[in-house]
């Protein structure tokens, strides 16, 4: 192993000696994207004007000792397609969507915002234990989601309801998760908003911040291999969402570094909304946002106006294509926005930021109103349609809400399933006891709330339990 490495190193060095032109040609990128290998050398070339050590190629020697620091002046620019008035500013590109598709995007964003209002109130009324809204950030989720393939796996943080809704998760599926009903795909084992769906290719949200990032790199590595093995199948990427606060975790750095070194097709989509609970970005990091870190890790990076749904879409489309080029590579999108609401139902953000700050943002800029202005200018939309849409969606959400409220709880057997593939003797005994107890004291136990009453327990007792659904997939 070690010998081989030295030999390859030598060969690399010889190649560099022999073909200075080729080396020169690489100067822009420094890394050959095909072979993804640096030119390495065992020794510094005498008289060279640049460093040629393995750890830093093509760095010019200088006699000026200068410490570099990003200043506000060289902050990475923010890509915009629409301005705050909904006017197209990137005139070189046209929107690649039919009116119908644009309307769907609009509808999805409004759906999320209405659902959020109602579910936030539901928590306040004690109907659910917890909720997190994505107010102000609907554009990031819906815009990026519109550019992904439905089959691209998604790793979300928790404020990306727009991704699920745009992918086809119904309002009712989402609300059922929050209410932990029998239709909750997680069988009532998670907090509200911790959504996941195999059908929608959405990994279940994890409470522990940033853990999804290295996992996304790993999933992308799996996709890279699958893409290579099956070049005629749809080529997929992983989309991984996270907040600027989560990006302070070591996991973020590990994820970017390994995705870059292993060339994994993953889109890191950072929602930079200015806050992590009470912590403002100034206390979270210094330097030019999250984007500058992507550049540092050798990752193609772009900063986008997250309140501009078309900009999000275009950036994600291009990023996706880039991520699939040359055998795969990671791309980082930093989407700038503002967290309009409290962090969660457990937070009162006016304890750490002024109400006027929030009101100001709400008034000044919002992804939904921006798109609305765009559509109105093209006579695709008007006050009347707006009213109808909002009232229709409100009805739809309330309908799903009322239905979920009345839904049964997950089947009783769920208390014990999904731990072992086959029931253990102890579990069977416990279930037998549950059954005996419930049947002996029917007045004490109301099983009508649970899906199928005692049926699910009987099924397991009769040996019909087939193991967790994962066991059936592969």
């Amino acid at each position: 192993m070690a010998t081989r490495r030295i030999v390859t190193g030598l060969r690399g060095a010889l190649a560099a000696w022999a073909t200075p032109l080729r080396q020169h040609g690489l100067r822009g990128g420094m890394v050959c994207s095909q072979c993804q290998k640096r030119w390495s050398s065992v020794s510094q070339r005498p008289g060279s004007d640049r460093v040629n050590f393995p750890g830093a190629v093509n760095s010019l020697f200088t006699t000026g000792l200068e410490f570099k620091r990003a200043t506000e002046d060289d902050a990475m620019p923010t890509y915009r397609y629409l301005d705050q008035e909904g006017t197209v500013v990137d005139k070189a590109h046209s929107v690649d969507l039919s009116n119908e598709q644009i309307l769907k995007i609009y509808r999805d964003m409004v759906t999320v915002s209405i659902m959020d209002l109602i579910m936030f109130d539901a928590q306040r009324q004690g109907k659910i234990s917890f909720y997190m809204v994505s107010a102000g950030e609907e554009g990031i989720a819906v815009g990026s989601s519109s550019a992904l393939s439905h089959n691209d796996p998604v790793f979300a943080q928790y404020r990306e309801h727009g991704v699920y809704i745009h992918r086809g998760t119904s309002i009712s599926e989402f609300i059922n998760q929050c209410f932990s009903t029998t239709h909750d795909l997680g069988k009532g084992r998670n907090m509200p908003v911790h959504y996941g769906s195999a059908k929608q290719h959405v990994h279940t949200v994890s409470s522990t911040l940033a853990t999804q990032l290295p996992q996304a790199s790993g999933a992308a590595y799996a996709l890279k291999l699958a893409n290579l093995a099956n070049p005629t199948d749809e080529q997929r990427v992983v989309a991984c969402y996270f907040g600027e606060g989560a990006a302070s975790e070591g996991d973020f750095h590990a994820a970017l570094n390994i995705a870059a070194t292993r060339s994994c097709p993953v889109l890191f989509i950072c929602r930079n909304n200015g806050y992590a609970i009470s912590t403002p970005t100034l206390d979270q990091y210094r330097g030019d946002g999250i984007a500058s870190r992507g550049v540092g890790y050798g990752i193609d990076t772009v900063r986008v106006d997250g309140n501009d749904v078309f900009a999000m879409r275009r950036a994600t489309l291009e990023a996706r294509a880039l991520a699939l080029s040359g055998g795969g590579r990671p791309v980082l999108i930093e989407a700038m926005s503002y967290r309009v609401s409290h962090h969660s139902t457990s937070d009162d953000s006016f304890a750490y930021r002024a109400k006027v700050e929030v009101e100001d943002w709400k008034r000044r800029d919002n992804p939904i109103t921006r798109l609305r202005k765009y559509m109105e200018a093209r006579e695709m939309w008007d006050e009347e349609k707006e009213k109808t849409l909002r009232s229709d969606l409100r009805q739809e959400v309330l309908k799903a809400y009322r239905a979920a409220e009345k839904e049964k709880k997950p089947a009783l057997s769920g208390v014990i399933t999904d731990v072992y593939k086959e029931m253990t003797e102890e579990q069977m005994e416990q279930l037998r006891r549950v059954k005996r107890l419930v049947e002996t004291y029917p007045e004490e136990y109301d099983l009508s709330e649970f899906d199928g009453g005692m049926d699910s327990v009987d099924e397991v007792l009769n040996g019909k339990y087939q193991g967790p659904s994962s066991a059936k997939v592969s």
Binding site: Q123, R124, Q125, G126, K127, I128, S129, F130, M132, Y158, S180, G188, R189, N190, M191, V193, H194, S206, S207, T208, L209, A210, G245, A246, S248, E249, G250, D251, A276, I277, S278, T279, D283, Q284, Y285, H343, S344, T345, S346, D347, D348, A351, Y352, K409, V415, V419
Partner: protein, 373 residues
């Protein structure tokens, strides 16, 4: 409300309007029942566990300029659970510091500060998130003194809520006592009452070694008596000394943290129902452990049960029973038993969650079985 605690702080906000809350973390907690039958000596006063912890930090920071607090949301937000309330105003931003969200990062930073001679208090929003930092705690904080040949002490206090809260699901609801208790080089304490909280935290801050203070969110809001002695700024509780919370002659209950309150209620019920006297030992300190107190009690009662809220396998209960068998086997009249959390990822559903941890009734039932009453 309570369900949210985790993915968020501001538990305070919720507590101000309990009627709106679907769950109350306090309804199942037993301490108030305990104070009912206690008469207070003059000069004592009531204080919440939260305030006691706060007072401990404030006093030690006042006394020693090397002490500082670092963690997520500890300064401006007064702590996710408001334990550091007022400290920023009082001691300024050099000594009460908000960290970016990076547990391994700020734990490492505090370890480094301790190695450089400061006395940091490292607050974890919960010990669930300390798993991100566990290498710093175990491989660096706990071992450096030993591995440096005894020249490099690490005076650091790791603290925060441990154990299950209420309605925050499996990833937010775990008890790490056994994890830290198994590490040579760490001291580990688990306060129950306000006196415990103040005395143990102050001792932890003063101790030249790394100490892990495992608090409990469900205890923060509970009021306990603070004796006149405990109100003094010189009050510390020595490590390795358990407290007999209730003397008894018929059965020994060895327990810690929130389970102490539950055992006290259970003991009261055992007395009224069966006329038996349970002795309740509040361990206070997990490592070092007061084996002597257990042995002494078992000599008297002949029966021992361990009550704790961790997972059953390889847990605190297992350790307590092993120690009892090693040191007091000849005094046992029956095999010792343990009441622990259930062997499942903590359920989110409220009723299941309740069933996943020891309840007062469960403790009574198991004690009665052991007592054959």
């Amino acid at each position: 409300m309570v369900g949210s605690r985790l993915a968020r702080p501001a538990a305070q906000l919720l507590r101000s309007s309990p009627s709106a809350l679907p769950r109350s973390s306090f309804q199942r907690v037993s301490a108030p029942a305990v104070s009912r039958w206690r008469t207070y000596a003059s000069g004592s006063k009531e204080m919440t566990v939260r305030d006691a912890l706060n007072e401990a930090m404030a006093e030690e920071m006042e006394k020693n300029s090397k002490v500082f607090v670092l963690g997520e949301e500890v300064a401006q937000y007064n702590g996710a659970y408001k334990v550091t309330k007022g400290l920023l105003d009082r001691f300024g931003e050099k000594r009460v510091i908000d960290s970016p969200i990076t547990e391994s990062g700020f734990a490492g930073l505090t370890v480094g500060a301790a190695l450089a001679g400061l006395h940091p208090i490292c607050e974890f929003m919960t010990f669930n998130f300390a798993m991100q930092a566990i290498d710093q705690i175990i491989n660096s904080a706990a071992k450096t003194h030993y591995m440096s040949g005894g020249i490099q002490p690490c005076n650091i206090t790791f603290r925060g809520p441990n154990g299950f809260a209420s309605g925050v699901a499996a990833q937010h609801s775990q008890d790490y006592t056994a994890w830290y208790g198994s590490i040579p080089g760490l001291k580990v304490v688990a306060p129950y009452s306000s006196e415990d909280a103040k005395g143990l935290l102050k001792a932890a801050i003063r101790d030249p070694n790394p100490v892990v203070v495992l608090e409990n969110e469900l205890l923060y809001g509970l009021q306990f008596e603070m004796s006149e002695e405990a109100q003094s700024d010189e009050f510390v509780i020595p490590f390795g000394k358990a407290k007999i919370e209730r003397p008894g002659k018929d059965i020994t209950m060895v327990t810690l943290s929130r389970c102490v309150g539950q055992c006290l209620v259970a003991a009261e019920q055992l007395k009224s129902k069966y006329g038996v006297e349970a002795e309740v030992i509040n361990l206070r300190s997990i490592k070092p452990m007061d084996v002597e107190a257990i042995v002494k009690s078992v000599k008297k009662t002949g029966l021992m049960m361990a009550v704790e809220s961790g997972f059953p396998s390889f847990g605190v209960g297992a350790e307590l029973i092993a120690l009892t068998c090693e040191y007091a086997f000849d005094y046992l009249d029956a095999p010792p038993i343990r009441v622990t959390g259930a062997e499942v990822p903590t359920p989110y559903a409220q009723k299941l969650e309740e069933m996943a941890f020891p309840s007062e009734q469960l403790i009574v039932d198991y004690a009665a079985k052991l007592l054959k009453v």
